[in-house]
Symmetry: C2
Subunit: 139 residues, 2 copies
Amino acid sequence: MSVQPFVLDPRLEAETSQIGELALCRVLLMDDARFPWLILVPKRPGLVEIIDLGSADLVRLMEEIATASGVLEAATSAFKLNVAALGNVVRQLHVHVIARFENDAAWPSPVWGKGERVSYEPVKRAEFSGKLRAGFGFG
Amino acid sequence: MSVQPFVLDPRLEAETSQIGELALCRVLLMDDARFPWLILVPKRPGLVEIIDLGSADLVRLMEEIATASGVLEAATSAFKLNVAALGNVVRQLHVHVIARFENDAAWPSPVWGKGERVSYEPVKRAEFSGKLRAGFGFG
């Protein structure tokens, strides 16, 4: 068998920008200025469910969820974090880590399917991405 | 300091029935016949976010999410699993593990806030709970 490469789902590619790479996951910023929103994508081909991960990667995923949660909380002073692996639309395994606020555009509902995505102004995206990269310790 | 006991949130208590206890989490069945839906609640007082867990409990939570996912998938032949820790309404840390189907009442949207909860008929609840308990290996 040939080794299948990891390829990011085209919809995730289109709606996010890359923040950096952890051991297991690529870290993406959802391009939605309404919600500070990271997406972790394990860099393994063919994954759909969390339970498709081997046991070492399962632990690594949880560690990286914790890392991303801490970075996002510190960068935003979030009121609440939402962490979710849904995958009903985009099948490739990915985990949302979203900072929520009591006055945000969807509170207290989940963010998915609420209104239309609002792209960041480029300056704001660059500024927030820089803050996140510093939080993760990405070079 | 006195040791604070773990007390299940009253809303979770009201809307679920208990399936059993894992090492870290109490396993609950959401009383909503529209979606096969487990809730894992770490039995530690005062938790709100996943990152409130210590590192050993973080790993344990991921293992128990994987266990619950496997049991639910086997019991329902789910098309997709949704796993999420939201907590915008109920603050006590809890993790949803939900079996989704392309013809379910909310597909492809997330289940939260979609229409009204439909209680199980008691016979159906007992039957499904028994199947889940067997899957978890609860006595």
